[in-house]
Amino acid sequence: MRTKLLAILALLGILLAACGPAATATPQVVQQQVIQTQIVEVTPTPGPNPESVIQNVEPNATITFWTYYLSPTFDDYIKSTIARFQATYPGVTVNWEDHQATFQQDLNNAFAAGNAPDVINLSVGEGWVSDYATQGLLLSLDDKVPQSVQALYFPGLWKEQLVKGVNYQFPWYQSIPVELINTQIYTGTPQTDASGNVTYTGGAGLKVSDFPKTIDGLPALCQTIKQKTGTLCDIRLSVNDLLSQMVYEGNVKVISDDGTKFTFNSPDAVSWLQMYVDMVKAGTVDKTVLVSDQDRVGLDLFETGKAAFYQTAPNLIRDVRANNPGLYGYLGVAPLPLGKSGVVAKGSMGISVNAKTKYPNASIALAQFFTNPTSMLEFAKIVSIYPSTPSSYDDPFFSAKPVAIEDSAKPLAKGIVATYADIVPTIPHTTDVNTIVLNAIQQALFNEEKSYSNPLSLFGSRLTCDWSFCFVSDCGGGVLQLHGLQHCDSSGLDWVKKLSAIDS
């Protein structure tokens, strides 16, 4: 019965197939031919490659691409991506160079000499994009990149480093900061008794899953760890960019909307600082690490097994495994506690185009190609970085259950990267301002002598005076402004008074 049915169906199929061409009327065939000619006319050069999204790429363009610290580890990846790019946009030649410790110096020299690369890998986290964009050295992208292409990226990342409301970078690879936990100290060594109950000895007896969700929980945590294990907390202030930290952790408004006056002499800033002052006074934090300007100092302390937790990126877990394999087995990972702003961090890397490039479209095409969903996914598969393009996360690679602890952030990565945003406004003369703020903060943290409250006010007033002076009369870019007090604005001294109050 079944065989018969199949035979009838097959026969019917053959008949229908045979009827097909005969049933099609002759005019329809003519119409089909017309469509074919149209297709040839619409796509003159590249062919229907889904990765080819930038139009009017200059034929025979030769462009230079600089990356930061990627060679030799990622040579294969970069070279194969360039090869794929050249196949996608035939006629374009890419010369790739990787610059490392002297990257910024080389780039500054190249811009000064007029031979800067066409496409440049710039750090968003370090503020390079805004630096160069402010100087008019980068190409604005909003008007040159089609809306459909902009939509490929997380909106927060596309808009995270705007200069006067305009974007100058394609967001590239991102990292996810985590709290790395040494469970030997944080929890303890598990011991099972006769009845099968697990108890922990030698540690603080805390659960990794209970790690504080907000930074307000840190002082109590450090107190517990110190009491139970005698270990100090391995926490570091962002010594190189304290205003940023104030914004992310304390939700402090640091500069007025028109960018002419510092406004961090506020109760928000004082309460942010108070948390650290209290921890120093309670003796629960490692003071050397707290004010070190190098991440390495805190990481070393953690790697040598002398700290319960440390904030770092998952790609540095490789470092722990290489330097202290014994500790690797006791590692735990917790999400970073959030500050009052509710934003974890800003993104890390971007790719920008030189404003003076001879081949703007070819350059934009290359920058876009390296940051497109396919290239990003390929990159993520070889190292623990996270794509800036939401669709890359649809790949099973991201939903697969993590095996190594380095990959534990993988299933959560999309949600975390989606929240990234740069919420720190542009700060003029960042380094100088930061130095003065650092001095004031150190006074508040460490100076117990009353007699020192005067230098403290000096630092504070210096800040307000110098910069308010500079805002009204331009001091010129290269000249360090006078630290004299003749231009004082006494209203700005609130910040100082509050610091003094903390101090006393």
């Binding site: 490692d286 003071k287 004010v291 070190s292 380094t431 001095n439 010129g476 290269g478 360090l480």
Partner: protein
């Protein structure tokens, strides 16, 4: 770096108002205390090793090792010893002197003394050799005469060795005081390039480096360099005068 703009003496004016600069200047002068300490210790050490005992050459060589070790390597080893979980804290806790480890390098009042100790330790061997050479030039007859005159061991050195070492003392004073004024490596390593909490370890050369290479304030750094030049020049002239006086009185 931006193109230079003529601002006259404003960098100096700024320097005068800069509290960190005055701190750095004060620290550099405090650092000069290393010189007398080195002279006294090295003379004692030179006298101690200036004997014909079996194995004394090995001792002399041991004292010289810090001199030929790189100052960066020495700084790092000291940093490890003074670490919160380092040798010194371990020892003190074991001896029962302290209960909780001390963060030696995070205490502002300890930064400079620790750096000075490091400089002294490193210079000991070199200056000891100079004094040793000086001691071996002093004729034995003088010591014999002193003994005949009724000098005890201590007086023998006070009245014979020390005056005999005068040219060496002047030389060591010149060299070590100049070295103290330009100290940098020790501070850089011990404070991790930060200059210590509350600028407690910032000296003139360190501040110069900070301004020039950390903050890119070339003008400020040049002004500090000029001030440092004036101070070292004054010191050298003063020291050379002393040296000349010494040779004159000797002749």
């Amino acid at each position: 770096m931006t193109p230079p703009v003529w601002i006259g003496l404003r960098n100096y004016q700024q320097l005068i108002h800069d509290t960190v600069f005055w701190q750095a200047l004060a620290h550099s002068f405090i650092y000069l205390l290393v010189t007398p300490i080195l002279i006294i210790l090295c003379i004692i050490l030179a006298i101690a090793v200036n004997r014909k005992l079996p194995g004394i050459n090995a001792f002399r060589a041991l004292y010289y090792i810090p001199v030929i070790s790189g100052s960066i390597a020495v700084g790092i080893s000291w940093k490890l010893m003074l670490d919160t979980n380092g040798l010194l804290n371990g020892l003190l806790i074991w001896l029962g002197v302290i209960q909780n480890p001390i963060q030696w390098l995070a205490e502002p009042s300890y930064t400079l003394p620790i750096a000075m100790l490091l400089t002294t330790w490193m210079g000991l061997g070199y200056y000891m050799m100079i004094f040793l050479a000086g001691l071996q030039n002093i004729s034995d007859d003088l010591y014999d005469a002193a003994v005949i005159d009724g000098c005890n061991a201590w007086q023998k050195h006070w009245y014979v060795s020390v005056p005999g070492l005068r040219p060496q003392i002047t030389f060591v004073a010149v060299i070590s005081s100049l070295a103290a004024l330009e100290v940098f490596n020790e501070i850089y390593i011990l404070t991790g390039g930060l200059g210590g909490i509350l600028n407690s370890g910032v000296t003139m050369v360190f501040y110069l480096w900070q301004q020039a290479f950390k903050y890119h304030h070339a003008g400020m750094a040049s002004a500090i360099a000029i001030v440092l030049l004036v101070i070292t020049l004054a010191f050298s002239v003063m020291n050379i005068r002393l040296l000349e006086q010494g040779t004159e009185s000797e002749s």
